[in-house]
Amino acid sequence: MRASHTHVLGSISSFFRLTAGIVVHAITHLDALRRRPVMAVTYKQVYFTGIQALLPAAFAAVAIGFIMETQMRGLLGSGIELNVKMLKLVVLREFAPLFTAFIVLGRSGAAIASELAAMKVQGEIRSLYLMGIDPGEYLLVPRVVGCAVAVPVLTFYFQAIVAGMGPALASVFVEIDLGPYYQALFASITLQELLVSAAKSICFGLVIAAAACSSGIYVPPSRIWIPQAAELAVIRGFLLLLATDAVFALLTL
Protein backbone atom coordinates (compact mmCIF):
# COMPACT_ATOMS: atom_id res chain seq x y z
CA MET A 1 0.00 0.00 0.00
CA ARG A 2 2.76 2.34 1.02
CA ALA A 3 4.70 1.50 -2.16
CA SER A 4 1.73 2.39 -4.38
CA HIS A 5 1.26 5.68 -2.50
CA THR A 6 4.93 6.46 -3.00
CA HIS A 7 4.62 5.63 -6.70
CA VAL A 8 1.60 7.91 -7.17
CA LEU A 9 3.22 10.74 -5.24
CA GLY A 10 6.42 10.24 -7.23
CA SER A 11 4.49 10.43 -10.52
CA ILE A 12 2.65 13.58 -9.44
CA SER A 13 5.87 15.21 -8.25
CA SER A 14 7.64 14.21 -11.48
CA PHE A 15 4.81 15.65 -13.59
CA PHE A 16 4.89 18.95 -11.65
CA ARG A 17 8.66 19.17 -12.05
CA LEU A 18 8.47 18.51 -15.82
CA THR A 19 5.62 20.98 -16.29
CA ALA A 20 7.30 23.69 -14.25
CA GLY A 21 10.57 22.93 -16.07
CA ILE A 22 8.88 23.55 -19.43
CA VAL A 23 7.52 26.93 -18.29
CA VAL A 24 10.94 27.93 -16.94
CA HIS A 25 12.67 26.69 -20.11
CA ALA A 26 10.31 28.67 -22.31
CA ILE A 27 10.67 31.86 -20.27
CA THR A 28 14.48 31.60 -20.15
CA HIS A 29 14.71 30.87 -23.90
CA LEU A 30 12.49 33.66 -25.19
CA ASP A 31 15.38 34.88 -27.35
CA ALA A 32 14.65 31.86 -29.59
CA LEU A 33 11.75 33.92 -30.94
CA ARG A 34 14.31 35.92 -32.93
CA ARG A 35 14.77 32.89 -35.16
CA ARG A 36 12.38 32.99 -38.11
CA PRO A 37 11.19 29.34 -37.98
CA VAL A 38 10.48 29.64 -34.23
CA MET A 39 8.47 32.82 -34.79
CA ALA A 40 6.61 31.11 -37.64
CA VAL A 41 5.58 28.24 -35.33
CA THR A 42 4.54 30.80 -32.70
CA TYR A 43 2.26 32.58 -35.20
CA LYS A 44 0.75 29.23 -36.15
CA GLN A 45 0.14 28.42 -32.49
CA VAL A 46 -1.54 31.79 -31.87
CA TYR A 47 -3.66 31.25 -34.99
CA PHE A 48 -4.71 27.75 -33.96
CA THR A 49 -5.22 28.49 -30.27
CA GLY A 50 -6.70 31.97 -30.64
CA ILE A 51 -8.18 32.72 -34.05
CA GLN A 52 -9.54 29.26 -34.79
CA ALA A 53 -11.16 29.11 -31.36
CA LEU A 54 -13.09 32.35 -31.87
CA LEU A 55 -16.23 30.66 -33.15
CA PRO A 56 -16.56 27.92 -30.49
CA ALA A 57 -15.69 30.48 -27.81
CA ALA A 58 -18.38 32.84 -29.15
CA PHE A 59 -21.04 30.10 -29.10
CA ALA A 60 -20.09 29.13 -25.54
CA ALA A 61 -20.02 32.77 -24.41
CA VAL A 62 -23.46 33.55 -25.86
CA ALA A 63 -24.92 30.42 -24.29
CA ILE A 64 -23.38 31.06 -20.88
CA GLY A 65 -24.31 34.74 -20.93
CA PHE A 66 -27.89 33.90 -21.82
CA ILE A 67 -28.25 31.06 -19.29
CA MET A 68 -26.68 33.04 -16.44
CA GLU A 69 -28.73 36.12 -17.17
CA THR A 70 -32.08 34.32 -17.30
CA GLN A 71 -31.26 32.20 -14.22
CA MET A 72 -30.06 35.21 -12.23
CA ARG A 73 -33.28 37.03 -13.03
CA GLY A 74 -35.22 34.12 -11.60
CA LEU A 75 -33.08 33.95 -8.46
CA LEU A 76 -32.27 37.58 -7.77
CA GLY A 77 -35.20 39.43 -9.30
CA SER A 78 -34.91 42.47 -11.53
CA GLY A 79 -32.58 44.62 -9.39
CA ILE A 80 -29.79 45.88 -11.63
CA GLU A 81 -27.14 46.27 -8.94
CA LEU A 82 -27.30 42.69 -7.67
CA ASN A 83 -27.50 41.21 -11.16
CA VAL A 84 -24.51 43.22 -12.35
CA LYS A 85 -22.52 42.23 -9.28
CA MET A 86 -23.25 38.56 -9.83
CA LEU A 87 -22.44 38.75 -13.52
CA LYS A 88 -19.16 40.44 -12.79
CA LEU A 89 -18.05 38.22 -9.91
CA VAL A 90 -19.27 34.85 -11.07
CA VAL A 91 -19.22 35.04 -14.84
CA LEU A 92 -16.60 37.60 -15.83
CA ARG A 93 -14.09 37.03 -13.05
CA GLU A 94 -14.38 33.26 -12.53
CA PHE A 95 -16.36 31.53 -15.22
CA ALA A 96 -15.07 33.27 -18.33
CA PRO A 97 -11.31 32.71 -17.78
CA LEU A 98 -11.85 29.14 -16.64
CA PHE A 99 -14.29 28.25 -19.40
CA THR A 100 -12.05 29.80 -22.06
CA ALA A 101 -9.13 27.83 -20.64
CA PHE A 102 -11.18 24.61 -20.84
CA ILE A 103 -11.99 25.32 -24.50
CA VAL A 104 -8.31 25.90 -25.25
CA LEU A 105 -7.28 22.84 -23.25
CA GLY A 106 -9.74 20.64 -25.17
CA ARG A 107 -8.65 21.95 -28.56
CA SER A 108 -5.03 23.07 -28.34
CA GLY A 109 -3.84 21.11 -25.30
CA ALA A 110 -4.91 17.78 -26.77
CA ALA A 111 -3.56 18.75 -30.21
CA ILE A 112 -0.18 19.85 -28.87
CA ALA A 113 0.26 16.67 -26.83
CA SER A 114 -0.65 14.31 -29.66
CA GLU A 115 1.42 16.30 -32.17
CA LEU A 116 4.54 16.16 -29.98
CA ALA A 117 3.98 12.50 -29.14
CA ALA A 118 3.67 11.70 -32.86
CA MET A 119 6.85 13.64 -33.60
CA LYS A 120 8.67 11.66 -30.93
CA VAL A 121 7.37 8.32 -32.22
CA GLN A 122 8.36 9.18 -35.81
CA GLY A 123 11.89 10.19 -34.78
CA GLU A 124 11.38 13.84 -35.71
CA ILE A 125 12.75 15.14 -32.43
CA ARG A 126 15.96 13.23 -33.19
CA SER A 127 15.95 14.80 -36.65
CA LEU A 128 15.66 18.28 -35.18
CA TYR A 129 18.62 17.60 -32.93
CA LEU A 130 20.68 16.25 -35.84
CA MET A 131 19.97 19.51 -37.71
CA GLY A 132 21.40 21.42 -34.73
CA ILE A 133 17.93 22.62 -33.72
CA ASP A 134 17.27 22.58 -30.00
CA PRO A 135 13.86 20.85 -29.69
CA GLY A 136 13.21 22.91 -26.56
CA GLU A 137 13.59 26.14 -28.52
CA TYR A 138 11.78 25.01 -31.64
CA LEU A 139 8.95 22.98 -30.12
CA LEU A 140 8.33 24.23 -26.59
CA VAL A 141 8.93 27.98 -26.72
CA PRO A 142 6.43 28.69 -29.55
CA ARG A 143 3.71 26.57 -27.99
CA VAL A 144 4.09 28.07 -24.52
CA VAL A 145 4.32 31.64 -25.85
CA GLY A 146 1.50 31.05 -28.34
CA CYS A 147 -0.87 29.83 -25.62
CA ALA A 148 0.21 32.54 -23.16
CA VAL A 149 -0.65 35.18 -25.78
CA ALA A 150 -3.80 33.61 -27.21
CA VAL A 151 -5.59 32.63 -23.97
CA PRO A 152 -5.84 36.16 -22.43
CA VAL A 153 -7.03 37.63 -25.73
CA LEU A 154 -9.58 34.84 -26.14
CA THR A 155 -10.69 35.32 -22.53
CA PHE A 156 -11.24 39.05 -23.08
CA TYR A 157 -13.23 38.23 -26.21
CA PHE A 158 -15.26 35.67 -24.24
CA GLN A 159 -15.94 38.18 -21.45
CA ALA A 160 -16.99 40.85 -23.92
CA ILE A 161 -19.48 38.50 -25.58
CA VAL A 162 -20.86 37.25 -22.25
CA ALA A 163 -21.31 40.81 -20.98
CA GLY A 164 -22.59 42.17 -24.28
CA MET A 165 -24.64 39.41 -25.86
CA GLY A 166 -25.88 37.57 -22.75
CA PRO A 167 -28.13 40.34 -21.40
CA ALA A 168 -29.16 41.36 -24.94
CA LEU A 169 -30.32 37.86 -25.83
CA ALA A 170 -31.94 37.31 -22.43
CA SER A 171 -33.87 40.58 -22.82
CA VAL A 172 -35.92 38.87 -25.54
CA PHE A 173 -37.32 36.46 -22.94
CA VAL A 174 -37.10 38.32 -19.62
CA GLU A 175 -37.55 41.96 -18.82
CA ILE A 176 -34.17 43.74 -18.76
CA ASP A 177 -33.64 47.45 -19.16
CA LEU A 178 -30.46 47.16 -21.23
CA GLY A 179 -29.28 50.81 -21.16
CA PRO A 180 -28.97 51.19 -17.37
CA TYR A 181 -27.79 47.58 -17.08
CA TYR A 182 -24.80 48.07 -19.41
CA GLN A 183 -24.06 51.44 -17.84
CA ALA A 184 -23.94 49.89 -14.36
CA LEU A 185 -21.89 46.93 -15.57
CA PHE A 186 -19.18 48.91 -17.33
CA ALA A 187 -19.03 51.51 -14.55
CA SER A 188 -18.35 48.78 -12.01
CA ILE A 189 -15.42 47.16 -13.86
CA THR A 190 -12.06 48.41 -12.56
CA LEU A 191 -8.62 48.36 -14.17
CA GLN A 192 -7.36 46.14 -11.36
CA GLU A 193 -9.99 43.54 -12.15
CA LEU A 194 -9.01 43.56 -15.80
CA LEU A 195 -5.34 43.16 -14.90
CA VAL A 196 -6.05 40.27 -12.51
CA SER A 197 -8.15 38.60 -15.20
CA ALA A 198 -5.35 39.05 -17.75
CA ALA A 199 -2.73 37.71 -15.32
CA LYS A 200 -4.88 34.70 -14.53
CA SER A 201 -5.45 33.99 -18.21
CA ILE A 202 -1.74 34.24 -18.98
CA CYS A 203 -1.08 31.70 -16.21
CA PHE A 204 -3.82 29.47 -17.63
CA GLY A 205 -2.16 29.68 -21.05
CA LEU A 206 1.21 28.71 -19.54
CA VAL A 207 -0.37 25.83 -17.61
CA ILE A 208 -2.22 24.45 -20.65
CA ALA A 209 0.86 24.59 -22.90
CA ALA A 210 3.23 23.17 -20.30
CA ALA A 211 0.88 20.33 -19.33
CA ALA A 212 0.33 19.49 -23.00
CA CYS A 213 4.04 19.66 -23.90
CA SER A 214 5.10 17.54 -20.93
CA SER A 215 2.38 14.99 -21.69
CA GLY A 216 3.42 14.83 -25.35
CA ILE A 217 7.17 15.00 -25.27
CA TYR A 218 7.89 12.66 -22.37
CA VAL A 219 5.80 9.71 -23.55
CA PRO A 220 7.54 6.46 -24.49
CA PRO A 221 8.30 6.32 -28.24
CA SER A 222 5.43 4.02 -29.19
CA ARG A 223 2.33 4.69 -31.33
CA ILE A 224 -0.10 3.57 -28.65
CA TRP A 225 0.98 6.54 -26.55
CA ILE A 226 -0.19 9.17 -29.05
CA PRO A 227 -3.88 9.17 -28.04
CA GLN A 228 -2.91 8.61 -24.43
CA ALA A 229 -0.74 11.72 -24.54
CA ALA A 230 -3.77 13.78 -25.56
CA GLU A 231 -5.86 12.23 -22.80
CA LEU A 232 -3.14 12.84 -20.21
CA ALA A 233 -2.76 16.45 -21.34
CA VAL A 234 -6.47 17.13 -20.88
CA ILE A 235 -6.74 15.45 -17.47
CA ARG A 236 -3.53 16.95 -16.10
CA GLY A 237 -4.31 20.33 -17.60
CA PHE A 238 -7.82 20.29 -16.11
CA LEU A 239 -6.50 19.59 -12.61
CA LEU A 240 -3.72 22.16 -12.94
CA LEU A 241 -6.16 24.81 -14.18
CA LEU A 242 -8.41 24.24 -11.17
CA ALA A 243 -5.41 24.40 -8.83
CA THR A 244 -4.19 27.62 -10.48
CA ASP A 245 -7.67 29.12 -10.23
CA ALA A 246 -7.79 28.23 -6.55
CA VAL A 247 -4.44 29.96 -5.99
CA PHE A 248 -5.76 33.10 -7.71
CA ALA A 249 -8.95 32.94 -5.65
CA LEU A 250 -6.86 32.91 -2.47
CA LEU A 251 -4.59 35.70 -3.68
CA THR A 252 -7.51 37.96 -4.60
CA LEU A 253 -9.58 37.40 -1.43
Binding site: R35, R36, P37, V38, A40, E115, A118, M119, Q122, G123, E124, R126, S127, L128, Y129, L130, M131, G132, I133, D134, Y138
Partner: protein
Protein backbone atom coordinates in the same frame (compact mmCIF):
# COMPACT_ATOMS: atom_id res chain seq x y z
CA UNK B 1 46.62 19.01 -45.88
CA UNK B 2 42.82 18.54 -46.15
CA UNK B 3 40.77 19.46 -43.12
CA UNK B 4 39.39 16.54 -41.13
CA UNK B 5 35.65 17.13 -40.83
CA UNK B 6 34.70 14.15 -38.71
CA UNK B 7 36.63 11.34 -37.15
CA UNK B 8 35.95 8.52 -34.76
CA UNK B 9 38.59 6.38 -33.22
CA UNK B 10 37.94 2.91 -31.80
CA UNK B 11 34.33 3.68 -30.98
CA UNK B 12 32.20 0.93 -29.48
CA UNK B 13 28.54 1.05 -28.57
CA UNK B 14 25.81 -1.49 -27.89
CA UNK B 15 25.26 -2.10 -31.62
CA UNK B 16 28.76 -1.93 -33.18
CA UNK B 17 32.34 -2.29 -32.03
CA UNK B 18 35.73 -0.75 -32.70
CA UNK B 19 34.64 1.55 -35.52
CA UNK B 20 37.28 3.90 -36.82
CA UNK B 21 36.94 6.41 -39.64
CA UNK B 22 38.29 9.74 -40.76
CA UNK B 23 36.36 11.93 -43.16
CA UNK B 24 38.16 14.82 -44.84
CA UNK B 25 36.67 17.83 -46.59
CA UNK B 26 35.45 16.97 -50.07
CA UNK B 27 35.69 13.21 -49.58
CA UNK B 28 32.98 10.56 -49.61
CA UNK B 29 32.88 7.72 -47.13
CA UNK B 30 30.40 4.87 -47.07
CA UNK B 31 29.44 3.06 -43.89
CA UNK B 32 27.70 -0.25 -44.50
CA UNK B 33 25.51 -1.42 -41.64
CA UNK B 34 23.76 -4.68 -40.89
CA UNK B 35 20.55 -2.98 -39.72
CA UNK B 36 18.80 0.37 -39.76
CA UNK B 37 19.14 0.61 -35.97
CA UNK B 38 22.87 0.00 -36.16
CA UNK B 39 23.22 2.79 -38.73
CA UNK B 40 21.14 5.20 -36.67
CA UNK B 41 23.16 4.37 -33.60
CA UNK B 42 26.32 5.16 -35.58
CA UNK B 43 24.94 8.54 -36.73
CA UNK B 44 23.72 9.34 -33.21
CA UNK B 45 27.17 8.58 -31.85
CA UNK B 46 28.94 10.59 -34.55
CA UNK B 47 26.71 13.63 -34.09
CA UNK B 48 26.54 13.81 -30.32
CA UNK B 49 23.21 12.15 -29.47
CA UNK B 50 24.57 9.02 -27.83
CA UNK B 51 27.87 8.94 -25.97
CA UNK B 52 29.96 5.89 -26.91
CA UNK B 53 31.11 3.35 -24.37
CA UNK B 54 34.70 4.06 -25.38
CA UNK B 55 36.69 6.03 -27.94
CA UNK B 56 36.82 9.64 -29.15
CA UNK B 57 34.50 11.42 -31.54
CA UNK B 58 35.71 14.62 -33.20
CA UNK B 59 33.48 16.82 -35.31
CA UNK B 60 34.92 19.82 -37.14
CA UNK B 61 38.04 19.50 -35.01
CA UNK B 62 36.17 19.53 -31.69
CA UNK B 63 35.96 16.64 -29.19
CA UNK B 64 32.18 16.36 -29.41
CA UNK B 65 31.36 14.75 -26.08
CA UNK B 66 33.51 17.17 -24.11
CA UNK B 67 31.47 20.14 -25.33
CA UNK B 68 28.38 21.53 -23.59
CA UNK B 69 25.12 20.86 -25.44
CA UNK B 70 24.78 24.41 -26.74
CA UNK B 71 28.18 24.19 -28.49
CA UNK B 72 27.38 20.74 -29.80
CA UNK B 73 24.19 22.09 -31.37
CA UNK B 74 26.15 25.02 -32.82
CA UNK B 75 28.51 22.54 -34.51
CA UNK B 76 25.55 20.61 -35.90
CA UNK B 77 24.48 23.80 -37.66
CA UNK B 78 27.23 22.92 -40.14
CA UNK B 79 25.97 19.40 -40.68
CA UNK B 80 23.35 18.49 -43.25
CA UNK B 81 21.18 15.46 -42.64
CA UNK B 82 19.56 13.75 -45.61
CA UNK B 83 17.80 10.48 -46.22
CA UNK B 84 14.82 11.18 -44.01
CA UNK B 85 14.10 13.33 -41.05
CA UNK B 86 11.42 15.55 -42.57
CA UNK B 87 9.11 17.16 -40.05
CA UNK B 88 5.62 15.81 -40.68
CA UNK B 89 3.63 18.93 -39.79
CA UNK B 90 5.70 21.25 -42.00
CA UNK B 91 5.20 21.59 -45.71
CA UNK B 92 8.12 20.59 -47.90
CA UNK B 93 9.18 24.20 -48.58
CA UNK B 94 9.23 24.81 -44.80
CA UNK B 95 11.17 21.60 -44.27
CA UNK B 96 13.84 22.35 -46.85
CA UNK B 97 14.45 25.85 -45.52
CA UNK B 98 14.15 25.00 -41.80
CA UNK B 99 17.79 24.40 -40.76
CA UNK B 100 19.16 27.16 -43.01
CA UNK B 101 16.73 29.72 -41.59
CA UNK B 102 17.02 28.49 -38.00
CA UNK B 103 20.78 28.96 -37.97
CA UNK B 104 21.46 32.59 -38.75
CA UNK B 105 24.39 31.90 -41.09
CA UNK B 106 22.56 32.89 -44.29
CA UNK B 107 19.97 35.49 -45.20
CA UNK B 108 16.51 34.32 -46.32
CA UNK B 109 17.31 35.62 -49.83
CA UNK B 110 20.46 33.49 -49.99
CA UNK B 111 18.54 30.46 -48.79
CA UNK B 112 15.83 31.03 -51.38
CA UNK B 113 18.42 31.40 -54.15
CA UNK B 114 20.13 28.15 -53.13
CA UNK B 115 16.82 26.31 -53.04
CA UNK B 116 15.84 27.54 -56.50
CA UNK B 117 19.27 26.55 -57.80
CA UNK B 118 18.99 23.06 -56.29
CA UNK B 119 15.48 22.49 -57.59
CA UNK B 120 16.68 23.73 -60.97
CA UNK B 121 18.93 20.66 -61.13
CA UNK B 122 15.91 18.35 -61.16
CA UNK B 123 14.41 17.20 -64.45
CA UNK B 124 10.85 17.80 -63.12
CA UNK B 125 11.49 21.14 -61.46
CA UNK B 126 8.06 22.58 -62.41
CA UNK B 127 6.37 19.71 -60.63
CA UNK B 128 8.53 20.32 -57.57
CA UNK B 129 7.73 24.02 -57.49
CA UNK B 130 3.99 23.63 -58.02
CA UNK B 131 3.08 20.34 -56.36
CA UNK B 132 5.77 19.02 -54.07
CA UNK B 133 7.01 22.10 -52.24
CA UNK B 134 3.49 23.05 -51.00
CA UNK B 135 2.75 19.44 -49.94
CA UNK B 136 3.20 17.73 -46.61
CA UNK B 137 5.91 15.02 -46.41
CA UNK B 138 3.39 12.18 -46.02
CA UNK B 139 2.05 12.79 -49.52
CA UNK B 140 5.47 12.35 -51.16
CA UNK B 141 7.06 9.13 -52.36
CA UNK B 142 10.08 7.74 -50.53
CA UNK B 143 12.29 9.00 -53.36
CA UNK B 144 10.83 12.52 -53.21
CA UNK B 145 11.23 12.65 -49.43
CA UNK B 146 14.90 11.76 -49.77
CA UNK B 147 15.37 14.28 -52.56
CA UNK B 148 13.80 16.90 -50.27
CA UNK B 149 16.43 15.98 -47.66
CA UNK B 150 19.20 16.66 -50.22
CA UNK B 151 17.55 19.95 -51.25
CA UNK B 152 17.50 20.89 -47.57
CA UNK B 153 21.26 20.27 -47.47
CA UNK B 154 21.67 22.45 -50.57
CA UNK B 155 20.02 25.34 -48.72
CA UNK B 156 22.30 24.86 -45.72
CA UNK B 157 25.66 24.40 -47.55
CA UNK B 158 26.95 22.09 -44.80
CA UNK B 159 30.56 21.12 -44.13
CA UNK B 160 29.43 17.54 -43.48
CA UNK B 161 26.53 15.84 -45.23
CA UNK B 162 25.22 12.69 -43.56
CA UNK B 163 23.04 10.74 -45.98
CA UNK B 164 21.24 8.13 -43.91
CA UNK B 165 20.24 5.15 -46.09
CA UNK B 166 19.72 7.55 -49.00
CA UNK B 167 19.78 4.94 -51.77
CA UNK B 168 18.28 1.94 -50.00
CA UNK B 169 14.95 0.43 -51.13
CA UNK B 170 14.75 2.52 -54.31
CA UNK B 171 14.61 1.69 -58.03
CA UNK B 172 17.17 2.56 -60.70
CA UNK B 173 15.90 5.92 -61.97
CA UNK B 174 15.26 7.28 -58.48
CA UNK B 175 18.73 6.18 -57.37
CA UNK B 176 20.23 7.84 -60.44
CA UNK B 177 18.56 11.18 -59.68
CA UNK B 178 19.66 11.10 -56.04
CA UNK B 179 23.21 10.23 -57.05
CA UNK B 180 23.20 13.12 -59.54
CA UNK B 181 22.00 15.54 -56.87
CA UNK B 182 24.60 14.24 -54.42
CA UNK B 183 27.31 14.71 -57.05
CA UNK B 184 26.07 18.26 -57.71
CA UNK B 185 26.19 19.04 -53.99
CA UNK B 186 29.75 17.72 -53.81
CA UNK B 187 30.84 20.15 -56.51
CA UNK B 188 29.76 23.15 -54.42
CA UNK B 189 32.39 25.32 -52.76
CA UNK B 190 33.55 24.53 -50.15
CA UNK B 191 32.93 20.87 -51.02
CA UNK B 192 31.26 19.04 -48.14
CA UNK B 193 32.49 15.79 -46.70
CA UNK B 194 29.80 13.19 -47.39
CA UNK B 195 29.03 10.19 -45.21
CA UNK B 196 26.63 7.75 -46.84
CA UNK B 197 25.04 4.99 -44.83
CA UNK B 198 24.03 1.86 -46.65
CA UNK B 199 22.21 -1.23 -45.49
CA UNK B 200 23.64 -4.59 -46.45
CA UNK B 201 26.98 -6.29 -47.00
CA UNK B 202 29.88 -4.33 -48.46
CA UNK B 203 30.96 -7.30 -50.53
CA UNK B 204 27.57 -7.83 -52.17
CA UNK B 205 28.67 -6.07 -55.35
CA UNK B 206 26.99 -2.73 -54.95
CA UNK B 207 27.66 -1.24 -58.35
CA UNK B 208 25.80 1.92 -57.34
CA UNK B 209 28.06 2.42 -54.37
CA UNK B 210 31.15 1.85 -56.49
CA UNK B 211 29.86 4.30 -59.11
CA UNK B 212 29.90 6.98 -56.42
CA UNK B 213 33.69 6.47 -56.29
CA UNK B 214 33.93 6.57 -52.49
CA UNK B 215 37.22 7.44 -50.87
CA UNK B 216 36.63 4.62 -48.44
CA UNK B 217 34.02 2.11 -47.38
CA UNK B 218 33.74 0.35 -44.04
CA UNK B 219 31.36 -2.21 -42.65
CA UNK B 220 30.29 -1.87 -39.04
CA UNK B 221 30.97 -4.94 -36.96
CA UNK B 222 28.43 -6.26 -34.54
CA UNK B 223 29.59 -6.40 -30.93
CA UNK B 224 30.60 -9.81 -29.70
CA UNK B 225 27.97 -11.27 -27.37
Amino acid sequence: MPEVIASIDQISTESFRSATMRLEAGTLGIVVTSSIDQGRDFVDTLLGLAAPEQGVVRLLGQPLYELPESRRLALLAQVGHAGGGLISNLKIWENVSLPALFHPTSTPDEVEARLIEAIGQLPNKEEWMQKRLPALPDTLSRYAQRMAGLIRCAALRPRLLVAEFLLDDLEGEAIGRLVDMLAWLRRKEPPPAVLLLHLGAATAGHSTLQSLQPDWMIQLEKPTP
